[in-house]
Amino acid sequence: MSIEESIRQHIIDNFLLGESSRLASDRVSFLDTGIIDSTGVLELVMFVEETFGIKIEDDELLPENLDSVENLADFIRRKQGVQQPTK
């Protein structure tokens, strides 16, 4: 499973409770569309740390890192030091 797929699946299962249509694309903003609230971001961070084995600092809790599937996947790859999407 790619990083994007794994994130998407988590968002759909845990925040959209199966209503995948609300996540129209990987660029949809989690916060603007109300998919995730402020503590939801932390829930997402916990999932990311657990799944991808990285540690996220307080000053990295920024929308450009975490606010969409695409942003988050790019961020994870940067943290992992991986250039290409893993399949």
């Binding site: 845990n14 932390l42 740390e49």
Partner: protein, 677 residues
């Protein structure tokens, strides 16, 4: 459910009185009011109160094997007796009955204590070997069925309930202050201790042997978890399939009975799952039972009714008010035989009464899923606190606790204060064994401010937490964070409180037997190997169980977040028309006489909480109030006025004209006539 009792003379000099043996089961006759039996031989006496469930006509006890070598009294069920019996028959064992008891006895003759690990069930039993003069007492793996013992005046005295042991004239009734301190820290007394000095519980998964006056306790089973979360090479769907198959089988064999079996429905996913298994995989029609609460803060009726409707069960409910809790609570303490910090067992005693009124003796219930599949908030709390521990200085990380405890959403400064004060302790060292339970135990310990000076002095060198940590099994340090938290919860909450005060006792009070499909040891052992990420996924608890019941229960119930089962606490006793006993037990007089708490703060607590609505009484005050009240009821009934309370109970049963069937008399006579010839 049954009640057992017995006396073994350790030095063969003391006479064992038949009337005492009778009284010892009559005081617990609620456990089994269908039949009463006795066995007496030199230096040994066994007695039994039976709740007839399997083999109604010939399953009476005490029972022996066909050669009358082993005599047994037994409380519980061996669900796999059907599977064990053919093998025993092949080996030449003969059977006089169709009961599980006789299979238990022969399995014991065949394998000795090694037989215990072959049993699938819930059991507390005593085996007397007439030839080797050896007594063996055993208790099931998780302690579903109770068993206590003491040694006094050259005799070993044992019984299903402590009150039965207290009837023996040589037994002292002295409160163990350390045990009390454990309750006011860990929520329960840890075995082998009980609240009574010198009276012990046979710990879950253990057996006791007495031979030539030598008493030994051995462990045959203990929960364990794999190192670092365990094997992760199986897919989620393979694990879901195996868990589902196990649960279906576990539920099926728990329907083995010659009487109808019902089920409790709490509105949560665990009891829903069991009911759905019965409905979908067995031919049984099902009666279901629920408690509803007058106080809407605790009520779950919408979910209970939705499920009963969906599965088409014959559903009955009983409504619990503040008044019903207050009226029943002293009697609840008579059954728990120890102080408790919550009223939660009370509605369950009301519920078992409803089951009894509907002529049902056996109910399936969902206990164990939360412990073994990761359902409790305390597990999620530990997960979040570990997430915080990754960066202890983070301002953000602890705020995830707001997800778990919405009441934490206050003003930013107050929230920060709460997080730092209650949840921060331990964050700097998340690997210490008790990490998960630090917030709970330190909040609970606040009750100790009510201790009087002598209590405080007496406990100066006692620390319940460090004693408990020392008792943890080897290898504990290498388990996953969740495995550790689960083990602590199983030891301190499941066996010592949920299955006892809130399980066996309040069901047995109304002659009801609870059966627990999630506590089948095959499930317990399988579940411990499921990786933590499938138990708690993100912050979704019991994730794997939700997958198991996909398609079996309505989707909204399947996805519901767990709501802890609770009942109204202090408010039940302090509303307008409170019972008279509250004034008595909280009086300066009574508190002083009981010599445990300081009278003034206790009185102030009662004043402070009087008239407050339930949502305005905090966690700590509720626990203090219920803890002190239950301790005072306990003092009254078990320490100060035991002879009055006990003789009333025994008299109640004696007046029904109960007859004891004396068993093994023929053998006894034969033996003695041989001796005289």
């Amino acid at each position: 459910m049954c009640g057992i009792a017995g006396i073994l003379s350790l030095d063969n000099h003391k006479e064992i009185k038949r009337e005492l043996l009778e009284d010892m089961v009559l005081i617990q006759a609620h456990r089994g009011p269908d039949e009463f039996g006795l066995f007496m031989d030199e230096g040994i006496g066994l007695s039994h109160a039976r709740l007839s469930i399997i083999d109604l006509s010939t399953g009476g006890q005490p029972m022996a094997d066909t050669s009358e070598k082993i005599w047994c009294v037994f409380n519980g069920e061996i669900y796999n007796y059907v599977e064990l019996k053919p093998e025993l028959e092949r080996r030449g064992y003969q059977f006089n009955t169709t009961s599980d008891t006789e299979v238990l006895i022969n399995q014991f003759i065949e394998k000795g204590p090694d037989s215990f690990n072959t049993l699938n069930g819930q059991f507390a039993a005593a085996f007397w070997d007439c030839r080797s003069k050896r007594l063996t007492l055993v208790r099931d793996r998780l302690g579903i069925r109770p068993l206590y013992y003491t040694v006094a005046d050259g005799q070993l005295i044992f019984a299903s309930e402590i009150k039965s042991i207290l009837l023996h004239p040589a037994v002292d009734r002295k409160i163990d202050k350390r045990a009390l301190d454990e309750i006011f820290t860990l929520w329960s007394v840890l075995p082998p201790k009980t609240v009574f000095e010198g009276i012990y519980e046979i710990p879950p998964g253990c057996y006791l042997t007495v031979e030539d006056g030598d008493v030994r306790v051995n462990k045959y089973w203990e929960p364990e978890f794999p190192e670092n979360g365990g094997e992760d090479n199986r897919t989620l769907s393979a694990l879901v399939d195996e868990l589902k198959d196990l649960l279906i089988d576990s539920t099926k064999i728990r329907l083995r009975a010659d009487v109808p079996v019902g089920a409790y429905l709490s509105g949560g996913i665990d009891s829903s799952a069991i009911t759905a298994f019965v409905k979908n995989y067995t031919p049984n029609s099902l009666n279901t039972f629920s408690v509803t609460f007058e106080d809407k803060n605790y009520d779950e009726r919408t979910h209970q009714l939705e499920l009963a409707d969906y599965l088409g069960t014959e559903h009955k409910t009983i409504n619990c008010s503040y008044k019903s809790i207050a009226e029943m609570f002293p009697e609840v303490i008579w059954h728990t035989e120890k102080p408790i910090l919550r009223t939660a067992p009370t509605p369950l005693m009301l519920l078992s009464g409803l089951v009894r009124d509907n002529n049902i003796k056996v109910v399936l219930t969902g206990e164990g899923a939360d412990e073994f599949l990761g359902g409790y908030d305390i597990f999620k709390e530990a997960k979040i606190r570990r997430f915080w521990a990754v960066n202890p200085d983070s301002e953000w990380r602890p705020r995830l606790l707001e997800r778990l405890y919405p009441w934490l959403k206050m003003s930013p400064s107050r929230t920060k204060f709460y997080l730092q004060t209650f949840y921060r302790p331990g964050i700097d060292n998340p690997e210490i064994p008790q990490f998960s339970h630090i917030p709970r135990w330190s909040t609970t310990s606040k009750i100790k401010m009510f201790y009087n000076d002598s209590m405080r002095k007496g406990l100066a060198d006692f620390n319940p937490v460090s004693d408990f940590i020392e008792s943890l099994p080897a290898g504990f340090d290498r388990w996953s964070y969740l495995g550790k938290a689960q083990f602590i919860e199983i030891q301190t909450l499941l066996s010592a409180y949920l299955l006892s005060s809130q399980g066996d006792r309040v069901a047995a009070a109304n002659s009801i037997e609870g059966r627990y499909p999630f506590l089948d040891h095959r499930i317990v052992e399988f579940a411990s190997k499921i990786p933590p990420k499938y138990k708690i996924r993100g912050l979704v608890e019991k994730y794997i169980l939700r997958e198991v019941v996909r398609g079996l229960i309505p989707e909204n119930l399947r996805k519901r977040i767990k709501r802890p089962y609770m009942a109204p606490d202090a408010v039940s006793f302090l509303s307008m028309d409170h019972p008279e006993y509250i004034d008595k037990y909280f009086s300066n007089d009574f508190i002083t006489k009981s010599e445990l708490f300081k009278p003034l703060p206790v009185e102030k607590l009662k004043e402070k909480l009087s008239g407050l609505p339930s949502e305005r009484i905090g966690f700590k005050d509720n626990m203090s109030f219920v803890g002190i009240l239950s301790t005072m009821i306990f003092m009254d009934r078990f320490i100060l006025n035991f002879s009055k309370f006990s003789s009333d109970k025994i008299e109640k049963w004696r007046s029904k004209g109960i007859k004891f069937q004396v068993r093994g008399e023929n053998e006894h006579r034969r033996k003695h006539s041989t001796a005289y010839n």
